[in-house]
C-alpha cells in the first residue's frame, strides 16, 4: 500500500513550528499561522507567514537553520497597482521542509534513507510554507535576497526581477533569464500597465512608464 503522512501529525508539526516562530518573532510585526488548503481530499495544513520587508533575511535564516526548511520552491512577485497602500507590490515565497539528508556513510558504502511516512512525527514531518512580503507604492521595489540561504532562490529571483521588476538587494549576478538580453531596460512585462502584446516597441513606449528612447533594433523584424 502506498504510504502517506498522517494528517494529525502534520497538524501537530505545523502548530509546533508556529509556536516556535511566535515565541521567537512575536512583536516584530510578523504574523504566522496554520492555514489549510481548501480543496482536495486532505485539507493539508501549511504555514502562512506575513513578513515585513526588513526582517526577511533574518526570518529566512531562522527558517533554514532552526525550523529545518531546506528547499526554496518558488519566489514570485505580484504587482497590485490598485491595491491598498501598503500592498502595491507583493513577493510571495514558497518553501518546503523536506528533511532530506545525505545518506549516512558506513565505511566505503552508503546506507539508503528509506522513511516510513506513517510514523513520522514532529520535526520529521515535511511541511509547506508560504511567506508573503508586502511592499508599499514605489518605483523601485526591492526585497533582501536570500541567495546565500538557499541556492535555489538564485534563479527564482532572477526570473522575478526579469518578469515583474522587483529587485533583490545583495543578489550577485542579476540578469535577464527569460526575456531576450537586449530587452529595453525597465521593461518588465508582468506589471499590470503593460498589455499582452504591443505591435511594435513604439506602442509600448507610449505608456505610463514614460520612456524617451527607442531600442537599437527598432524597425527590424521582431
Amino acid at each position: 500500500m502506498g504510504m502517506k503522512i498522517d494528517m494529525e501529525a502534520a497538524e501537530v508539526a505545523a502548530n509546533l513550528v508556529v509556536a516556535q516562530g511566535r515565541s521567537r518573532w512575536g512583536g516584530t510585526g510578523l504574523t504566522m499561522e496554520v492555514q489549510h488548503h481548501a480543496g482536495g481530499r486532505f485539507k493539508r495544513p501549511y504555514i502562512r507567514i506575513d513578513c515585513p520587508r526588513q526582517h526577511w533575511l533574518a526570518v529566512a535564516k531562522w527558517l533554514r537553520f532552526d525550523a529545518g526548511v531546506d528547499h526554496c520552491s518558488m519566489i514570485t512577485g505580484i504587482h497590485w497597482p490598485e491595491g491598498p497602500d501598503e500592498r502595491r507590490w507583493e513577493v510571495v515565497i514558497h518553501l518546503m521542509r523536506m528533511n532530506v539528508i545525505d545518506p549516512p556513510e558506513r565505511g566505503n558504502w552508503v546506507e539508503q534513507v528509506v522513511r516510513d511516512a506513517s510514523i513520522l512525527q514532529e520535526e520529521d514531518v515535511p511541511l509547506e510554507f508560504e511567506v508573503s512580503i508586502c511592499l508599499p507604492d514605489t518605483r523601485t521595489p526591492s526585497v533582501p535576497s536570500v541567495q546565500q540561504v538557499w541556492v535555489g532562490a538564485d534563479w527564482n529571483e532572477k526570473e522575478t526581477w526579469d518578469l515583474v521588476g522587483i529587485d533583490f538587494d545583495g543578489h550577485v549576478g542579476m540578469r535577464r533569464v527569460l526575456l531576450p538580453h537586449d530587452s529595453p531596460v525597465g521593461y518588465h512585462p508582468l506589471q499590470k500597465q503593460h498589455k499582452l502584446r504591443y505591435h511594435d516597441f513604439e506602442e509600448m513606449y507610449d505608456d505610463a512608464q514614460g520612456f524617451q528612447r527607442k531600442p537599437v533594433d527598432a524597425g527590424k523584424i521582431k
Binding site: 512585462p189 503593460h194 499582452l196 502584446r197 523584424i221 521582431k222
Partner: protein, 198 residues
C-alpha cells in the same frame, strides 16, 4: 610548389588545348541535340535525387519536435522515404520549424536558414510555426515563421500527427518536381501548400 603549373606542361597538355577541345565538344553536342538531352536527363536525375533524399535539420523547438521524433520512430518510419536527420545545417536541405519562434530565436533561426546551402526548402509544422499558435498574442512570439523565412509547406495541427508530417514530405516532393531548383529567394510569392487542403 615553385613555378606556375603551366610551365611544367608541354604544349599537348596546356590550358589552351584543354579549352579548345572543350569548345569543340560543346559545339558538337549542341549540334546533335545531345547537350539538351543530357541536360534534361541530368536535371531530372538531380531532381529525383534531391526529392527522394530530403535531409532535415535536427532542430527541435517545442512539442511538434516530439511528433517529428516519433515520425522517425519505428511505427511511422520516415526514413523509408529517404528522410534522414542531420545535425549540421550545412548538410541539410529541409528546415522543419516545429515550434513558436520567439524574438530571441529569430536571429539564430535566420542564421541557420542562411547556413543551409541552396536548394533548400522550409516546412512550417504546427500551429505555432504557421501563425504563432495559441501564443499569437504573446509579447515574445512572432506571428508565424513566414515573417522571417520563406515557407514551402504548412502542416496544420497542434501537434500534427506523424502521418501528417510524412504527408507534408510527400507534398514537398511533388512541389520539388514542379519547381526544380528555383532558389528560395524567388519563391516568396508562390501559392502555399497546406497539408490537408485537398
Amino acid at each position: 610548389m615553385t613555378g606556375a603549373p603551366d610551365q611544367n606542361y608541354n604544349v599537348f597538355s596546356s590550358q589552351a588545348l584543354v579549352d579548345v577541345v572543350g569548345d569543340i565538344t560543346d559545339e558538337a553536342l549542341k549540334a546533335s541535340r545531345m547537350k539538351q538531352f543530357i541536360g534534361v536527363l541530368g536535371g531530372r536525375l538531380m531532381n529525383w535525387g534531391q526529392r527522394k533524399s530530403l535531409f532535415p535539420l535536427h532542430l527541435g523547438i517545442k512539442c511538434c519536435a516530439l511528433e517529428m521524433a516519433a515520425a522517425g520512430g519505428s511505427r511511422f518510419d520516415a526514413e523509408r522515404f529517404g528522410v534522414f536527420f542531420r545535425s549540421t545545417p550545412r548538410q541539410c536541405d529541409v528546415l522543419i520549424v516545429n515550434g513558436p519562434i520567439s524574438k530571441k530565436f529569430a536571429d539564430p533561426l535566420v542564421r541557420l536558414w542562411e547556413q543551409m546551402p541552396e536548394p533548400k526548402w522550409c516546412i512550417a509544422m504546427g500551429e505555432c510555426a504557421i501563425s504563432g499558435g495559441p501564443y499569437y498574442q504573446s509579447y515574445n512570439i512572432l506571428e508565424g515563421v513566414e515573417t522571417i523565412i520563406p515557407v514551402d509547406v504548412y502542416i496544420p495541427g497542434c501537434p500534427p500527427r506523424p502521418e501528417a508530417l510524412i504527408d507534408g514530405f510527400a507534398k514537398l516532393r511533388q512541389k520539388i518536381m514542379r519547381i526544380g531548383t528555383k532558389p528560395s529567394t524567388d519563391r516568396a510569392g508562390d501559392a502555399p501548400i497546406i497539408v490537408g487542403d485537398d
